[in-house]
Amino acid sequence: MNVMYFAWVRERIGIPQETVETQAATVNDLIAELRAREDRYEAAFADISALRVALDQELSDFDAPLAGVREVAFFPPMTGG
């Protein structure tokens, strides 16, 4: 699936998006997989309460299932307006 990162999440991980091969059942499972990869992921996902997630461009929850999802995006709380 396509995984996207925005704002300081993108800066900590160092890339705006990547294709991830995963069997993760939920967003939390995917985060656990990513955190186990490298320090830069650990740095980005250290505090989940500071993050938001969108599944296929809809704001979602960390315990949401990933079945059928094509695009996951992680970012800090939005500051529009």
């Binding site: 704002a7 300081w8 969108a54 995006a73 970012f75 800090p76 500051t79 529009g80």
Partner: protein
């Protein structure tokens, strides 16, 4: 209804003059303009990042809700991304309705939701360095008003 997400500057006066121009059934037009603020006199620029695709969808949904709830005759949202200088307009909303209460309330609702539900992120560049603007708790709380 209009939603525009763009890097280019826009002219608030031009946009407002064109907004709901040919409608004779409206009695109220309300607009809000968000401007790059240099609080400490040290801001060289603001960089605004967004999530192409989700941005337009999220704003479109918010506008649809406002139009239905307040029976708006028209609504417009323009939001810029990219690099902006202090004093530059970041975004604007305009609402048109039969009466002013609906136009004011709908514009207020649109701003509260755009603030924390439209996927934009602001970064301030000063002489000290670059800092992401943090979301405020009160911005999230503001959604509970609606």
């Amino acid at each position: 209804m209009g939603v525009r997400v763009q890097a280019e500057p826009f002219d608030v006066g031009t946009e407002l003059n064109a907004f709901a121009k040919d409608r004779t059934d409206i009695g109220a037009v309300v607009s809000f303009t968000g401007v790059v603020r240099d609080t400490d006199g040290d801001l060289s620029e603001m960089q605004i990042e967004h999530y192409p695709g989700m941005t337009e969808r999220a704003i479109g949904k918010i506008v649809d809700q406002a139009v239905k709830r307040w029976a708006l005759a028209d609504a417009l949202v323009i939001h810029r991304y990219g690099t902006l200088k202090p004093g530059a307009p970041i975004m604007m909303v305009a609402t048109a309705a039969a009466h002013r209460a609906a136009a004011f309330e709908a514009a207020d609702f649109l701003m509260d939701y755009l603030k924390s539900r439209a996927p934009f992120w602001k970064k301030e560049i000063t002489s000290i360095g670059a800092d992401w603007v943090a979301a405020k708790d009160e911005d999230e709380d503001a959604l509970n008003r609606w």
